[in-house]
């Protein structure tokens, strides 16, 4: 661990799991994400469409808003000395509805041998809602400093 409290490659143990604080996904988050991304799909922003024309019966948050929140919760749980993401493989298993509260379960799945001053670490991440259901899950590979 460095003086900023960030974990380095050697601090991470395979199998170790970090659980984040929760975050409630609000309609404001959805509107902000539409404005930022330009994705104004009626699934997310049209209440009448949400009620009458979706398989969910109401509006849902953008899947990628969930992924963005996953990265935010993961950026402090745990804080890492890293130089960026390498790749991601991410599944939207269930919808996130306005008002749902999500928590990130972030597990160290694999450490690849370091190359130079950094090594790839594969995290298995699950975003769970207030009922404990997995709404999103997958693998994120991060380049972590040695």
């Amino acid at each position: 661990m460095d003086k900023e409290g960030r974990l380095h490659y050697g601090d991470l143990q395979v199998g170790e799991e970090f659980v984040s604080q929760g975050r409630t996904v609000t309609e404001a988050d959805v509107v902000n994400f539409s404005g930022l991304s330009g994705d104004f799909n009626p699934l997310h922003v049209d209440a009448e469409y949400g009620r009458n024309h979706t398989i969910f019966g109401k509006n849902i948050a953008h899947g990628l808003l969930g992924a963005a929140i996953m990265s935010g919760l993961g950026s402090v749980s745990p804080p890492l000395a890293e130089s960026g993401y390498v790749n991601i493989d991410w599944r939207f298993s269930a919808p996130i509805f306005f008002g749902d509260t999500v928590v990130l379960h972030n597990k160290v799945a694999e450490k690849l041998p370091p190359e130079g001053n950094a090594g790839k670490v594969v995290f298995e991440r699950k975003l769970k809602n207030q009922k404990g259901e997995v709404v999103q899950e997958g693998k994120l590979t991060v380049l972590v400093k040695v």
Binding site: D39, A68, W90
Partner: protein
Amino acid sequence: MGYEENRLYYEDLEVGQNFLTDSRVITGADVQMFAAVSGDFRPQHLNETYGKSSPAGERTGHDLLGVAIASGLRRPIAPIATMAFMGFNMEFREPLRIGDTIHSRQTVVEKRETKKDDRGIVRFRRELINQDGQVIQTGDALLMVHRKKK
């Protein structure tokens, strides 16, 4: 024509079909806003001093900001009748730099029917390309798409 009729359904999409989206510049404001929405305030994105000593040599945009923007870039085709976004994978080859003007090349690479006859699964290859023609992100997005009502 109403919104529902003007959309592209599963049957309208063909493997091999591809198109280029509009372009958009990535600004520092986009990066601040992505940090605000996501809660991801990592220093390589928010701290100019830190960014200067990083491999990119400057603070950069979040990789997932690139994915988010690619999903919202305007396409030269009618809206796709998306039932749900099922997932994606992405390889982050190059940093997303502030000042980059990016567009996306999207190709239908696979279609498959499901047990339910009101929907099908379509896999799109999505490549994020900068102003120099460099592919900075590449991967697949999996969409569940409505089929035409019989």
